[in-house]
Amino acid sequence: MIKTDALIIGAGPTGLFTAHQLKLIGLDCEIVDNLDKIGGQCIELYPDKPIYDIPAVPECTGEQLTNNLINQLKPFDIKFHLNERVEEVKKNNGLWKVKTNKGTEFNTPNIIIAGGVGSFEPRKFAPKECEKYENISIFYSVKNKSIFKGKTVSIFGGGDSALDWAVELSKDSKVNLIHRRDEFRGAQSTLNQVLELEKNGKINLYTKYQLNKINGDEKLENIDILHDNKETKNLKTDYVLGFFGLIMQLGPIANWGLNLDKKTINVDTEKFETNQKGIYAVGDICTYPGKLKLILSGFHEGALAARACFKLARPNEKYRFEFTTTSTKLLKRLGKKE
């Protein structure tokens, strides 16, 4: 069980600057993010796109912004838990007990949700029956490829994951590769390999087809795929893999008893606290009258939420506002003074 003054959920720009503010005022914090890297949407969605409305930064890309924020955190020691998603939040003796999907547990008076538009989750198949076979016969990522040995695997998608796995699994499995159009967005070199394997009968390629229906009992037995021209084909298959990229969903946050407004969380504008004491929401995921979904708003919200955390983390101390230009205490924390 990790004890910390504040737990931040989300390592995007807002989460990073909130960590800076917490450390600056003398609180410790840890950050959990579902992605495998720091930066959130800025890195996952638009690393190369220029941003023009960060105060005092006329132009920077999502990647540059992230790197600058990471640099700004250098004086501080902050533990990141990447590739982890917070699943459970429970009240425990006046503190919050938090558990991730990997079993990491935190005990903290403060949780700051800086989750953007939610966590990135794989896009799933549309037919409802697919849920029944999820993680049995239908997968959205490969954890143990040995289960596919000697079996028939139908792979859906047109990006790198779909092409890479089609090539890899064709060594020991019968592979069907199905994509909704003729063009693939994956690397040309992998596509060439796929086309070569198709010629040699190692991969069956079906383009302009999509999954229409799945059939089976306990286990998946066969699937119907539908062509743009409405023609259907039935394929016998043991496994189905779907690689349609990532979408953003609120995920488990929806189950924590917070007041929600569509995909956002209602907060006050003094502490950016939710209806639960000690749980705050900042950045794109929070909403209040006049809310702007700008990165600069996230910075402001994080700074105020951090001050609110101080009260719960240090109930017997008084918080004093200080400037980094003049405060010896802050300059020491920043490593600028002995």
Binding site: L45, Y46, A126, G158, R181, D228, F244, I247, K263, K293
Partner: protein, 106 residues
């Protein structure tokens, strides 16, 4: 200015005037039409402003931009008439355009 009709998946129809220069996505979001999320704000970085363009309009509107089909691969139930509404810029020529919204975006 163009009159654009958005038809929700449940059949509810909304016809609104959208100014030239805005996108079909912006027309929906600014008029609180449910069914278009536009999570990324129009950067063609997600696929949550996905619409089905009415067949007789599909070839009359500006064609798909580079990379749009790559994003549509990641949409919910993409079909041959699928477009990202953030990539359709409104002009007088689009007066009368009808788009159908998918069952959901995510």
């Amino acid at each position: 200015m163009a009159k654009i009709t958005y038809i929700e998946n449940n059949g509810k129809s909304h016809t609104i005037d959208v100014e030239n220069g805005l996108t079909v996505m912006e027309g929906a979001v600014q008029n609180d039409i449910p069914g278009i999320d536009a999570d990324c704000g129009g950067g063609m970085a997600c696929a949550t402003c996905h619409v089905y363009v009415k067949e007789d309009w599909f070839n009359k509107i500006p064609s798909k931009t580079q990379g749009e089909d790559d994003m549509l691969d990641q949409a919910y139930e993409p079909k041959s008439l699928s477009r990202l509404s953030c990539q359709i810029t409104v002009s007088d020529d689009l007066d009368g355009l009808v788009v159908n919204l998918p069952e959901k975006q995510v």
